[in-house]
Protein backbone atom coordinates (compact mmCIF):
# COMPACT_ATOMS: atom_id res chain seq x y z
CA UNK A 1 0.00 0.00 0.00
CA UNK A 2 1.41 3.38 -0.93
CA UNK A 3 1.76 6.50 1.17
CA UNK A 4 -1.31 8.26 -0.22
CA UNK A 5 -3.75 5.46 0.49
CA UNK A 6 -2.31 5.06 4.00
CA UNK A 7 -2.93 8.74 4.70
CA UNK A 8 -6.45 8.59 3.26
CA UNK A 9 -7.39 5.53 5.32
CA UNK A 10 -5.98 7.17 8.45
CA UNK A 11 -7.96 10.34 7.71
CA UNK A 12 -11.12 8.32 7.20
CA UNK A 13 -10.63 6.76 10.62
CA UNK A 14 -10.13 10.22 12.12
CA UNK A 15 -13.40 11.41 10.51
CA UNK A 16 -15.33 8.53 12.16
CA UNK A 17 -13.62 9.08 15.51
CA UNK A 18 -14.15 12.84 15.36
CA UNK A 19 -17.84 12.43 14.62
CA UNK A 20 -18.26 9.95 17.49
CA UNK A 21 -16.36 12.15 19.93
CA UNK A 22 -18.15 15.32 18.83
CA UNK A 23 -21.48 13.76 19.85
CA UNK A 24 -20.32 13.75 23.49
CA UNK A 25 -19.94 17.56 23.53
CA UNK A 26 -22.89 19.72 24.48
CA UNK A 27 -24.66 21.49 27.32
CA UNK A 28 -26.72 18.44 28.42
CA UNK A 29 -24.77 16.11 30.69
CA UNK A 30 -24.64 12.71 29.01
CA UNK A 31 -21.87 10.28 29.94
CA UNK A 32 -20.28 7.92 27.50
CA UNK A 33 -22.00 4.73 28.69
CA UNK A 34 -25.39 6.42 28.25
CA UNK A 35 -24.27 7.68 24.86
CA UNK A 36 -23.29 4.23 23.67
CA UNK A 37 -26.52 2.65 24.92
CA UNK A 38 -28.52 5.35 23.10
CA UNK A 39 -26.54 4.84 19.92
CA UNK A 40 -27.21 1.10 19.87
CA UNK A 41 -30.90 1.68 20.61
CA UNK A 42 -31.22 0.52 24.21
CA UNK A 43 -31.55 3.91 25.86
CA UNK A 44 -32.78 4.15 29.46
CA UNK A 45 -33.02 7.93 29.59
CA UNK A 46 -35.60 9.34 27.09
CA UNK A 47 -34.26 12.90 27.35
CA UNK A 48 -30.75 11.76 26.49
CA UNK A 49 -32.21 9.81 23.60
CA UNK A 50 -33.92 12.90 22.15
CA UNK A 51 -30.84 15.09 22.70
CA UNK A 52 -28.59 12.62 20.95
CA UNK A 53 -30.81 11.67 18.02
CA UNK A 54 -32.53 14.99 17.35
CA UNK A 55 -29.91 17.55 18.33
CA UNK A 56 -26.39 16.25 18.40
CA UNK A 57 -26.30 13.65 15.64
CA UNK A 58 -27.97 15.89 13.01
CA UNK A 59 -25.61 18.69 13.98
CA UNK A 60 -22.47 16.56 13.73
CA UNK A 61 -23.65 15.03 10.46
CA UNK A 62 -24.41 18.44 8.96
CA UNK A 63 -20.98 19.69 10.10
CA UNK A 64 -19.48 16.64 8.40
CA UNK A 65 -21.17 17.12 5.02
CA UNK A 66 -20.89 20.92 5.12
CA UNK A 67 -17.15 20.68 5.83
CA UNK A 68 -16.76 18.18 3.00
CA UNK A 69 -18.83 20.28 0.62
CA UNK A 70 -17.13 23.61 1.27
CA UNK A 71 -13.65 22.07 1.04
CA UNK A 72 -14.53 20.25 -2.20
CA UNK A 73 -16.07 23.38 -3.70
CA UNK A 74 -12.83 25.24 -2.99
CA UNK A 75 -10.73 22.42 -4.42
CA UNK A 76 -12.78 22.27 -7.64
CA UNK A 77 -12.67 26.04 -8.09
CA UNK A 78 -8.92 26.14 -7.50
CA UNK A 79 -8.11 23.40 -9.99
CA UNK A 80 -10.51 24.54 -12.70
CA UNK A 81 -9.33 28.16 -12.49
CA UNK A 82 -5.67 27.26 -11.75
CA UNK A 83 -5.81 29.72 -8.88
CA UNK A 84 -4.86 28.42 -5.42
CA UNK A 85 -6.65 31.35 -3.77
CA UNK A 86 -10.05 30.65 -5.32
CA UNK A 87 -12.75 30.02 -2.74
CA UNK A 88 -16.54 29.99 -2.97
CA UNK A 89 -16.58 32.93 -0.56
CA UNK A 90 -14.36 35.03 -2.82
CA UNK A 91 -16.33 34.07 -5.91
CA UNK A 92 -19.38 35.94 -4.71
CA UNK A 93 -21.36 32.73 -4.15
CA UNK A 94 -21.83 33.43 -0.45
CA UNK A 95 -22.72 37.10 -0.93
CA UNK A 96 -25.24 36.05 -3.55
CA UNK A 97 -26.75 33.56 -1.14
CA UNK A 98 -26.73 36.29 1.52
CA UNK A 99 -28.65 38.66 -0.74
CA UNK A 100 -31.21 35.98 -1.54
CA UNK A 101 -31.65 35.16 2.14
CA UNK A 102 -32.00 38.84 3.00
CA UNK A 103 -34.72 39.39 0.45
CA UNK A 104 -36.55 36.27 1.67
CA UNK A 105 -36.24 37.34 5.30
CA UNK A 106 -37.47 40.87 4.72
CA UNK A 107 -40.31 40.07 2.35
CA UNK A 108 -41.54 36.61 3.36
CA UNK A 109 -41.18 36.48 7.13
CA UNK A 110 -43.90 33.80 7.53
CA UNK A 111 -42.74 30.85 5.53
CA UNK A 112 -38.98 30.85 5.96
CA UNK A 113 -38.24 27.13 6.29
CA UNK A 114 -38.54 26.58 2.55
CA UNK A 115 -38.16 30.14 1.29
CA UNK A 116 -34.84 30.88 2.99
CA UNK A 117 -32.78 28.04 1.51
CA UNK A 118 -34.46 28.46 -1.86
CA UNK A 119 -33.80 32.20 -1.96
CA UNK A 120 -30.19 31.68 -0.82
CA UNK A 121 -29.74 29.13 -3.57
CA UNK A 122 -31.16 31.44 -6.22
CA UNK A 123 -28.99 34.29 -4.97
CA UNK A 124 -25.85 32.15 -5.22
CA UNK A 125 -26.78 31.06 -8.72
CA UNK A 126 -27.39 34.68 -9.66
CA UNK A 127 -23.92 35.71 -8.50
CA UNK A 128 -22.24 32.88 -10.42
CA UNK A 129 -24.07 33.86 -13.59
CA UNK A 130 -22.82 37.44 -13.20
CA UNK A 131 -19.24 36.28 -12.51
CA UNK A 132 -19.18 33.93 -15.50
CA UNK A 133 -20.73 36.60 -17.71
CA UNK A 134 -18.08 39.13 -16.68
CA UNK A 135 -15.29 36.60 -17.19
CA UNK A 136 -16.67 35.81 -20.65
CA UNK A 137 -16.70 39.49 -21.58
CA UNK A 138 -13.15 39.92 -20.26
CA UNK A 139 -12.03 36.70 -22.03
CA UNK A 140 -9.45 36.22 -19.32
CA UNK A 141 -9.73 33.28 -17.00
CA UNK A 142 -7.13 34.80 -14.68
CA UNK A 143 -9.52 37.63 -13.96
CA UNK A 144 -12.34 35.37 -12.89
CA UNK A 145 -11.34 35.70 -9.24
CA UNK A 146 -11.14 39.49 -9.41
CA UNK A 147 -14.56 39.54 -11.07
CA UNK A 148 -15.80 37.36 -8.22
CA UNK A 149 -14.46 39.72 -5.57
CA UNK A 150 -16.06 42.72 -7.31
CA UNK A 151 -19.43 40.94 -7.62
CA UNK A 152 -19.13 39.84 -4.00
CA UNK A 153 -18.77 43.42 -2.78
CA UNK A 154 -21.55 44.64 -5.02
CA UNK A 155 -24.03 42.05 -3.76
CA UNK A 156 -22.94 42.62 -0.15
CA UNK A 157 -23.60 46.34 -0.50
CA UNK A 158 -27.09 45.66 -1.86
CA UNK A 159 -27.69 43.32 1.08
CA UNK A 160 -26.54 45.98 3.53
CA UNK A 161 -28.73 48.60 1.86
CA UNK A 162 -31.79 46.38 2.25
CA UNK A 163 -30.89 45.54 5.84
CA UNK A 164 -30.35 49.19 6.74
CA UNK A 165 -33.89 50.08 5.72
CA UNK A 166 -35.39 46.76 6.74
CA UNK A 167 -37.41 45.81 9.77
CA UNK A 168 -35.07 45.40 12.80
CA UNK A 169 -36.13 41.84 13.68
CA UNK A 170 -35.60 40.59 10.18
CA UNK A 171 -32.32 42.46 10.00
CA UNK A 172 -31.15 40.81 13.18
CA UNK A 173 -32.10 37.41 11.88
CA UNK A 174 -30.18 37.96 8.65
CA UNK A 175 -27.09 39.28 10.40
CA UNK A 176 -26.95 36.24 12.68
CA UNK A 177 -27.60 33.96 9.74
CA UNK A 178 -24.73 35.54 7.81
CA UNK A 179 -22.38 34.76 10.68
CA UNK A 180 -23.06 31.07 10.19
CA UNK A 181 -24.33 28.56 12.70
CA UNK A 182 -25.22 24.90 12.94
CA UNK A 183 -27.47 25.47 15.97
CA UNK A 184 -30.77 25.07 14.11
CA UNK A 185 -29.96 22.32 11.66
CA UNK A 186 -32.16 19.25 11.29
CA UNK A 187 -31.71 15.76 9.95
CA UNK A 188 -33.49 16.74 6.71
CA UNK A 189 -30.76 19.32 6.03
CA UNK A 190 -28.19 16.56 6.23
CA UNK A 191 -30.03 14.58 3.56
CA UNK A 192 -30.32 17.56 1.20
CA UNK A 193 -26.67 18.64 1.57
CA UNK A 194 -25.55 15.01 1.42
CA UNK A 195 -27.47 14.49 -1.80
CA UNK A 196 -25.94 17.50 -3.55
CA UNK A 197 -22.52 16.54 -2.20
CA UNK A 198 -22.88 13.04 -3.59
CA UNK A 199 -23.75 14.38 -7.03
CA UNK A 200 -20.76 16.73 -6.90
CA UNK A 201 -18.34 14.01 -5.84
CA UNK A 202 -19.58 11.57 -8.50
CA UNK A 203 -19.33 14.22 -11.22
CA UNK A 204 -15.81 15.22 -10.20
CA UNK A 205 -14.62 11.61 -10.01
CA UNK A 206 -16.08 11.01 -13.46
CA UNK A 207 -14.29 14.03 -14.91
CA UNK A 208 -11.11 13.97 -12.84
CA UNK A 209 -8.82 13.50 -15.85
CA UNK A 210 -10.43 16.38 -17.69
CA UNK A 211 -10.00 18.67 -14.68
CA UNK A 212 -6.37 17.57 -14.29
CA UNK A 213 -5.71 18.42 -17.93
CA UNK A 214 -6.63 22.05 -17.17
CA UNK A 215 -3.71 22.31 -14.74
CA UNK A 216 -1.22 22.81 -17.59
CA UNK A 217 -3.31 25.48 -19.30
CA UNK A 218 -6.44 25.71 -21.43
CA UNK A 219 -4.59 25.19 -24.69
CA UNK A 220 -2.97 22.02 -23.45
CA UNK A 221 -6.30 20.70 -22.16
CA UNK A 222 -8.02 21.48 -25.47
CA UNK A 223 -5.32 19.57 -27.33
CA UNK A 224 -6.18 16.53 -25.20
CA UNK A 225 -9.79 16.73 -26.34
CA UNK A 226 -11.28 18.65 -23.40
CA UNK A 227 -14.08 21.15 -24.06
CA UNK A 228 -12.57 23.72 -21.71
CA UNK A 229 -15.40 26.27 -21.58
CA UNK A 230 -18.08 23.67 -21.03
CA UNK A 231 -16.10 21.87 -18.33
CA UNK A 232 -15.35 25.07 -16.44
CA UNK A 233 -18.96 26.20 -16.60
CA UNK A 234 -20.17 22.82 -15.34
CA UNK A 235 -17.70 22.87 -12.45
CA UNK A 236 -18.58 26.44 -11.53
CA UNK A 237 -22.26 25.51 -11.54
CA UNK A 238 -21.56 22.49 -9.37
CA UNK A 239 -19.63 24.58 -6.83
CA UNK A 240 -22.40 27.14 -6.80
CA UNK A 241 -25.05 24.49 -6.15
CA UNK A 242 -22.97 22.85 -3.43
CA UNK A 243 -22.04 26.07 -1.65
CA UNK A 244 -25.50 27.55 -1.99
CA UNK A 245 -27.12 24.47 -0.44
CA UNK A 246 -24.71 24.57 2.50
CA UNK A 247 -24.96 28.33 2.98
CA UNK A 248 -28.74 28.14 2.81
CA UNK A 249 -28.89 25.93 5.92
CA UNK A 250 -25.75 26.92 7.77
CA UNK A 251 -25.22 30.57 6.85
CA UNK A 252 -21.91 32.09 5.89
CA UNK A 253 -18.98 29.82 6.69
CA UNK A 254 -15.93 31.30 4.97
CA UNK A 255 -12.39 30.22 4.22
CA UNK A 256 -12.93 26.45 4.58
CA UNK A 257 -12.65 26.09 0.82
CA UNK A 258 -9.42 28.06 0.81
CA UNK A 259 -7.64 26.43 3.73
CA UNK A 260 -8.41 22.75 3.39
CA UNK A 261 -7.32 22.13 -0.25
CA UNK A 262 -4.11 23.98 0.52
CA UNK A 263 -3.32 21.56 3.35
CA UNK A 264 -4.28 18.60 1.16
CA UNK A 265 -1.86 19.70 -1.57
CA UNK A 266 1.01 19.71 0.88
CA UNK A 267 0.01 16.40 2.42
CA UNK A 268 -1.40 14.26 -0.40
CA UNK A 269 -1.10 15.72 -3.89
CA UNK A 270 -2.35 18.27 -6.40
CA UNK A 271 -4.24 16.14 -8.93
CA UNK A 272 -8.01 16.24 -8.75
CA UNK A 273 -8.82 12.78 -7.46
CA UNK A 274 -6.41 13.00 -4.52
CA UNK A 275 -7.34 16.60 -3.86
CA UNK A 276 -11.08 15.92 -3.77
CA UNK A 277 -10.93 12.87 -1.51
CA UNK A 278 -8.38 14.49 0.80
CA UNK A 279 -10.35 17.74 0.97
CA UNK A 280 -13.56 15.88 1.77
CA UNK A 281 -11.96 14.05 4.70
CA UNK A 282 -9.96 16.93 6.16
CA UNK A 283 -12.83 19.37 5.57
CA UNK A 284 -15.17 17.10 7.53
CA UNK A 285 -12.72 16.77 10.43
CA UNK A 286 -12.12 20.52 10.45
CA UNK A 287 -15.75 21.60 10.53
CA UNK A 288 -16.78 18.97 13.08
CA UNK A 289 -14.17 20.31 15.51
CA UNK A 290 -14.79 23.98 14.77
CA UNK A 291 -18.44 23.34 15.56
CA UNK A 292 -17.44 21.68 18.83
CA UNK A 293 -15.48 24.82 19.69
CA UNK A 294 -18.44 26.98 18.63
CA UNK A 295 -20.87 25.27 20.98
CA UNK A 296 -18.70 24.46 23.97
CA UNK A 297 -16.16 27.22 24.47
CA UNK A 298 -18.56 29.72 26.12
CA UNK A 299 -20.60 28.61 29.18
CA UNK A 300 -24.11 29.76 28.17
CA UNK A 301 -23.84 30.84 24.57
CA UNK A 302 -22.58 29.73 21.20
CA UNK A 303 -20.04 31.46 19.02
CA UNK A 304 -21.28 31.66 15.39
CA UNK A 305 -19.19 29.14 13.48
CA UNK A 306 -18.47 31.55 10.63
CA UNK A 307 -16.65 33.88 13.02
CA UNK A 308 -14.27 31.10 14.01
CA UNK A 309 -13.59 29.89 10.45
CA UNK A 310 -13.05 33.47 9.25
CA UNK A 311 -10.64 34.21 12.10
CA UNK A 312 -8.67 31.02 11.44
CA UNK A 313 -8.90 31.56 7.69
CA UNK A 314 -7.54 35.08 7.70
CA UNK A 315 -4.56 34.02 9.82
CA UNK A 316 -4.06 31.10 7.46
CA UNK A 317 -4.23 33.44 4.46
CA UNK A 318 -1.44 35.58 5.90
CA UNK A 319 0.53 32.44 6.65
CA UNK A 320 0.32 31.35 2.98
CA UNK A 321 1.51 34.77 1.88
CA UNK A 322 4.37 34.61 4.35
CA UNK A 323 5.62 31.36 2.92
CA UNK A 324 4.62 32.05 -0.67
CA UNK A 325 8.19 31.32 -1.73
CA UNK A 326 7.34 27.66 -1.17
CA UNK A 327 5.67 25.65 -3.91
CA UNK A 328 1.89 25.81 -3.84
Amino acid sequence: MNKVSTILIALFAVVILSAMTAITFGPADIDSSELISCLIGSCQNPIANVVIWQVRIPRVLVALVAGMGLAIAGAILQNTTRNPLADPYLFGIVSGAGLGATIANISLADNLTIALPLAAFLGALFSVIIVVFIAKVLQRMEQLLLAGVAVSFMLASITQFILYFGEPFATNRVIFWLMGSLARVEMSNFYVIGFVLLIAIITVIALHRQIDALLLGDESAASLGVDVDKLRLLMLGLCAALTATIVAYCGGIGFVGLMIPHIVRQLIGVTTLKLIIGSALIGAIFLIWVDVIARSSLPHAEIPIGIITSALGSIFFLFIMYRSRAVI
Binding site: Q210, G217, S220, A222
Partner: protein, 275 residues
Protein backbone atom coordinates in the same frame (compact mmCIF):
# COMPACT_ATOMS: atom_id res chain seq x y z
CA UNK B 1 3.87 6.02 -48.43
CA UNK B 2 0.28 6.46 -47.38
CA UNK B 3 -1.18 9.94 -47.08
CA UNK B 4 -2.29 10.87 -43.56
CA UNK B 5 -3.31 14.47 -43.98
CA UNK B 6 -4.50 16.28 -47.08
CA UNK B 7 -4.81 20.05 -47.09
CA UNK B 8 -6.45 21.70 -50.06
CA UNK B 9 -7.15 25.34 -50.78
CA UNK B 10 -6.94 26.35 -47.15
CA UNK B 11 -7.42 30.10 -46.70
CA UNK B 12 -8.01 32.23 -43.60
CA UNK B 13 -8.97 35.86 -43.97
CA UNK B 14 -9.72 38.27 -41.17
CA UNK B 15 -11.22 41.48 -42.53
CA UNK B 16 -8.74 42.56 -45.23
CA UNK B 17 -5.80 40.61 -43.86
CA UNK B 18 -4.95 37.13 -45.08
CA UNK B 19 -3.53 34.87 -42.43
CA UNK B 20 -3.34 31.88 -44.77
CA UNK B 21 -3.75 31.94 -48.57
CA UNK B 22 -4.63 28.92 -50.65
CA UNK B 23 -2.42 26.36 -48.90
CA UNK B 24 -2.13 22.90 -50.48
CA UNK B 25 -0.01 20.00 -49.31
CA UNK B 26 -0.11 16.40 -48.16
CA UNK B 27 1.50 14.78 -45.15
CA UNK B 28 2.60 11.16 -45.49
CA UNK B 29 3.06 8.67 -42.71
CA UNK B 30 6.46 8.87 -41.05
CA UNK B 31 7.53 12.23 -42.44
CA UNK B 32 9.33 14.79 -40.25
CA UNK B 33 8.15 18.16 -41.54
CA UNK B 34 9.41 21.56 -40.47
CA UNK B 35 7.35 24.68 -41.08
CA UNK B 36 9.64 27.69 -41.45
CA UNK B 37 9.18 31.37 -42.23
CA UNK B 38 9.42 34.84 -40.67
CA UNK B 39 7.39 36.02 -37.67
CA UNK B 40 3.73 36.40 -38.56
CA UNK B 41 4.04 34.19 -41.66
CA UNK B 42 1.17 32.00 -40.43
CA UNK B 43 3.15 29.03 -39.06
CA UNK B 44 1.24 28.67 -35.81
CA UNK B 45 -2.07 29.46 -37.54
CA UNK B 46 -1.40 26.62 -39.96
CA UNK B 47 -0.80 24.24 -37.04
CA UNK B 48 -4.08 25.35 -35.46
CA UNK B 49 -5.99 24.64 -38.68
CA UNK B 50 -4.22 21.34 -39.17
CA UNK B 51 -5.44 20.08 -35.79
CA UNK B 52 -8.74 22.00 -35.85
CA UNK B 53 -8.08 23.41 -32.38
CA UNK B 54 -11.19 24.91 -30.82
CA UNK B 55 -13.11 23.78 -33.93
CA UNK B 56 -11.49 26.70 -35.72
CA UNK B 57 -12.21 25.31 -39.21
CA UNK B 58 -15.92 25.93 -38.76
CA UNK B 59 -15.22 29.67 -38.53
CA UNK B 60 -16.68 31.58 -41.47
CA UNK B 61 -13.30 33.27 -42.08
CA UNK B 62 -11.71 29.98 -43.05
CA UNK B 63 -12.29 28.16 -46.31
CA UNK B 64 -10.78 25.04 -47.83
CA UNK B 65 -10.50 21.54 -46.55
CA UNK B 66 -8.30 19.60 -44.15
CA UNK B 67 -8.67 15.83 -44.40
CA UNK B 68 -7.33 13.30 -41.97
CA UNK B 69 -7.23 9.77 -43.42
CA UNK B 70 -9.49 10.84 -46.28
CA UNK B 71 -12.20 12.18 -43.98
CA UNK B 72 -12.76 15.93 -43.35
CA UNK B 73 -11.23 16.76 -39.99
CA UNK B 74 -14.29 18.79 -38.97
CA UNK B 75 -16.15 15.47 -38.75
CA UNK B 76 -13.82 14.23 -36.00
CA UNK B 77 -14.71 14.84 -32.36
CA UNK B 78 -12.21 16.64 -30.11
CA UNK B 79 -11.43 13.31 -28.48
CA UNK B 80 -10.80 11.60 -31.83
CA UNK B 81 -8.50 14.43 -32.86
CA UNK B 82 -6.59 14.02 -29.58
CA UNK B 83 -6.24 10.32 -30.42
CA UNK B 84 -4.57 11.23 -33.73
CA UNK B 85 -2.59 14.36 -32.86
CA UNK B 86 -0.39 14.97 -29.84
CA UNK B 87 0.40 18.65 -29.39
CA UNK B 88 3.37 20.21 -27.66
CA UNK B 89 2.57 23.89 -27.37
CA UNK B 90 4.78 26.78 -26.36
CA UNK B 91 3.06 27.84 -23.17
CA UNK B 92 2.96 25.24 -20.44
CA UNK B 93 2.98 26.82 -17.04
CA UNK B 94 1.47 25.69 -13.82
CA UNK B 95 1.68 27.14 -10.36
CA UNK B 96 0.72 23.85 -8.74
CA UNK B 97 3.37 21.32 -7.79
CA UNK B 98 2.52 18.84 -10.55
CA UNK B 99 4.90 15.90 -10.72
CA UNK B 100 6.28 14.60 -14.00
CA UNK B 101 4.04 11.57 -13.48
CA UNK B 102 0.97 13.83 -13.18
CA UNK B 103 1.86 15.52 -16.47
CA UNK B 104 2.40 12.21 -18.28
CA UNK B 105 -0.93 10.86 -16.99
CA UNK B 106 -2.68 13.67 -18.85
CA UNK B 107 -1.61 11.88 -22.04
CA UNK B 108 -3.89 8.97 -21.13
CA UNK B 109 -6.97 11.19 -21.27
CA UNK B 110 -7.97 10.67 -24.93
CA UNK B 111 -8.03 6.90 -24.41
CA UNK B 112 -9.88 6.84 -21.10
CA UNK B 113 -13.56 6.71 -20.28
CA UNK B 114 -15.21 8.61 -17.44
CA UNK B 115 -14.43 7.36 -13.90
CA UNK B 116 -11.46 5.32 -15.14
CA UNK B 117 -8.42 4.79 -12.93
CA UNK B 118 -4.84 4.08 -13.99
CA UNK B 119 -4.03 0.47 -14.82
CA UNK B 120 -0.67 -1.29 -14.52
CA UNK B 121 -0.42 -1.08 -18.29
CA UNK B 122 -0.74 2.71 -18.06
CA UNK B 123 2.05 2.86 -15.51
CA UNK B 124 4.29 0.71 -17.71
CA UNK B 125 3.51 2.95 -20.66
CA UNK B 126 4.42 6.03 -18.64
CA UNK B 127 7.79 4.66 -17.55
CA UNK B 128 8.54 3.49 -21.09
CA UNK B 129 7.81 6.97 -22.50
CA UNK B 130 9.99 8.55 -19.83
CA UNK B 131 12.78 6.15 -20.66
CA UNK B 132 12.57 7.08 -24.34
CA UNK B 133 13.16 10.75 -23.55
CA UNK B 134 15.96 9.90 -21.13
CA UNK B 135 14.25 11.04 -17.93
CA UNK B 136 13.60 7.74 -16.14
CA UNK B 137 14.78 9.12 -12.81
CA UNK B 138 12.46 12.12 -12.88
CA UNK B 139 9.08 10.40 -12.45
CA UNK B 140 8.42 12.10 -9.12
CA UNK B 141 10.22 15.40 -9.79
CA UNK B 142 8.21 18.61 -9.86
CA UNK B 143 7.54 19.67 -13.44
CA UNK B 144 8.14 23.32 -12.53
CA UNK B 145 11.58 22.65 -11.15
CA UNK B 146 12.90 21.05 -14.35
CA UNK B 147 14.98 22.96 -16.90
CA UNK B 148 13.35 24.17 -20.11
CA UNK B 149 14.85 21.30 -22.09
CA UNK B 150 13.68 18.73 -19.56
CA UNK B 151 10.16 20.20 -19.54
CA UNK B 152 10.08 20.00 -23.32
CA UNK B 153 11.15 16.35 -23.14
CA UNK B 154 8.49 15.60 -20.53
CA UNK B 155 5.86 17.08 -22.85
CA UNK B 156 7.18 14.94 -25.71
CA UNK B 157 6.93 11.93 -23.39
CA UNK B 158 3.34 12.94 -22.64
CA UNK B 159 2.72 12.95 -26.39
CA UNK B 160 4.16 9.41 -26.51
CA UNK B 161 1.80 8.29 -23.74
CA UNK B 162 -0.99 9.77 -25.84
CA UNK B 163 0.08 7.21 -28.53
CA UNK B 164 -1.04 9.48 -31.34
CA UNK B 165 0.24 8.92 -34.85
CA UNK B 166 1.14 12.55 -35.45
CA UNK B 167 3.25 14.72 -33.20
CA UNK B 168 2.74 18.47 -33.60
CA UNK B 169 5.19 20.85 -31.97
CA UNK B 170 5.10 24.64 -31.90
CA UNK B 171 8.65 26.02 -31.68
CA UNK B 172 10.02 23.16 -29.59
CA UNK B 173 13.47 24.76 -29.32
CA UNK B 174 12.36 28.19 -28.09
CA UNK B 175 14.20 29.35 -24.98
CA UNK B 176 16.52 26.35 -25.06
CA UNK B 177 20.29 26.55 -25.19
CA UNK B 178 22.24 25.01 -28.08
CA UNK B 179 22.72 21.67 -26.36
CA UNK B 180 19.03 21.20 -25.57
CA UNK B 181 17.98 22.44 -29.02
CA UNK B 182 19.88 19.59 -30.61
CA UNK B 183 18.89 17.09 -27.95
CA UNK B 184 15.14 17.81 -28.31
CA UNK B 185 15.15 17.80 -32.12
CA UNK B 186 17.25 14.65 -32.30
CA UNK B 187 14.80 12.97 -29.96
CA UNK B 188 11.82 14.07 -32.07
CA UNK B 189 13.60 12.90 -35.21
CA UNK B 190 14.25 9.42 -33.84
CA UNK B 191 10.74 8.67 -32.55
CA UNK B 192 9.68 7.07 -35.85
CA UNK B 193 6.31 8.81 -35.95
CA UNK B 194 4.95 11.53 -38.18
CA UNK B 195 6.13 14.93 -36.94
CA UNK B 196 4.97 18.40 -37.96
CA UNK B 197 6.68 21.29 -36.22
CA UNK B 198 7.33 24.98 -36.59
CA UNK B 199 11.01 25.85 -36.30
CA UNK B 200 12.57 29.28 -36.17
CA UNK B 201 16.17 28.28 -36.73
CA UNK B 202 16.56 27.40 -40.42
CA UNK B 203 19.78 25.46 -39.90
CA UNK B 204 18.28 23.32 -37.16
CA UNK B 205 15.25 22.71 -39.37
CA UNK B 206 17.52 21.64 -42.20
CA UNK B 207 19.44 19.31 -39.95
CA UNK B 208 16.49 17.47 -38.42
CA UNK B 209 13.60 17.64 -40.92
CA UNK B 210 13.22 15.57 -44.07
CA UNK B 211 10.92 18.10 -45.58
CA UNK B 212 10.43 21.83 -45.12
CA UNK B 213 7.45 24.09 -45.81
CA UNK B 214 8.42 27.73 -46.25
CA UNK B 215 5.63 30.20 -45.44
CA UNK B 216 5.53 33.93 -45.99
CA UNK B 217 2.54 36.26 -45.59
CA UNK B 218 0.28 33.24 -45.29
CA UNK B 219 1.43 31.73 -48.58
CA UNK B 220 3.21 28.45 -49.05
CA UNK B 221 6.31 29.61 -50.95
CA UNK B 222 8.02 26.29 -51.32
CA UNK B 223 7.69 22.68 -50.22
CA UNK B 224 10.43 20.09 -50.51
CA UNK B 225 13.68 18.77 -49.08
CA UNK B 226 15.84 21.24 -47.08
CA UNK B 227 18.18 21.44 -50.03
CA UNK B 228 15.36 22.50 -52.34
CA UNK B 229 13.59 24.86 -49.99
CA UNK B 230 16.59 26.70 -48.56
CA UNK B 231 17.31 28.62 -51.75
CA UNK B 232 19.35 31.77 -51.06
CA UNK B 233 17.37 33.78 -53.58
CA UNK B 234 13.98 33.08 -52.01
CA UNK B 235 15.24 33.38 -48.45
CA UNK B 236 16.86 36.75 -49.07
CA UNK B 237 13.62 38.03 -50.59
CA UNK B 238 11.57 36.84 -47.64
CA UNK B 239 13.86 37.82 -44.80
CA UNK B 240 15.19 40.94 -46.53
CA UNK B 241 18.82 40.02 -45.98
CA UNK B 242 21.49 38.67 -48.33
CA UNK B 243 21.83 34.95 -47.86
CA UNK B 244 24.43 32.34 -48.65
CA UNK B 245 24.07 28.58 -48.77
CA UNK B 246 26.72 26.02 -47.83
CA UNK B 247 26.99 22.33 -47.11
CA UNK B 248 28.04 21.45 -43.60
CA UNK B 249 31.30 19.50 -43.71
CA UNK B 250 30.35 17.11 -40.90
CA UNK B 251 26.62 16.50 -41.26
CA UNK B 252 26.31 17.10 -44.99
CA UNK B 253 23.21 19.18 -44.33
CA UNK B 254 22.34 22.37 -46.19
CA UNK B 255 23.09 25.40 -44.03
CA UNK B 256 22.36 29.07 -44.64
CA UNK B 257 23.88 32.27 -43.30
CA UNK B 258 22.59 35.83 -43.53
CA UNK B 259 24.38 39.19 -43.68
CA UNK B 260 23.40 42.76 -43.11
CA UNK B 261 22.50 44.59 -46.33
CA UNK B 262 25.47 46.87 -46.93
CA UNK B 263 28.66 48.07 -45.42
CA UNK B 264 27.11 51.22 -44.09
CA UNK B 265 24.73 49.27 -41.87
CA UNK B 266 27.49 46.94 -40.84
CA UNK B 267 29.74 49.83 -39.89
CA UNK B 268 26.93 51.37 -37.86
CA UNK B 269 26.48 48.12 -36.01
CA UNK B 270 30.19 47.85 -35.28
CA UNK B 271 30.10 51.42 -34.00
CA UNK B 272 27.17 50.67 -31.70
CA UNK B 273 28.85 47.56 -30.38
CA UNK B 274 32.12 49.38 -29.77
CA UNK B 275 30.43 52.20 -27.94
Amino acid sequence: MSTLINISQLSWHVENKSILQNINFNVCKGEVIGIIGPNGAGKTSLLRCLTNQGNILTSKNISGCVQLKNRPIVQYSAKEIAQHFALVMQKNETIFALSVQDVLKMGLLPHKSLFSLDSDHDKAQISLALKKVGLSDSLHSHFNQLSGGEQQRVLIARALVQTSQILVLDEPTNHLDVYYQHQVLQLVNKLNITVIMTVHDLNLASLYCQRLLLLDHGQLISDGTPEEVLSPKKLSQIFGLPCQKSIDAITGATQVSFYLKNNEQENNLVKIVNE
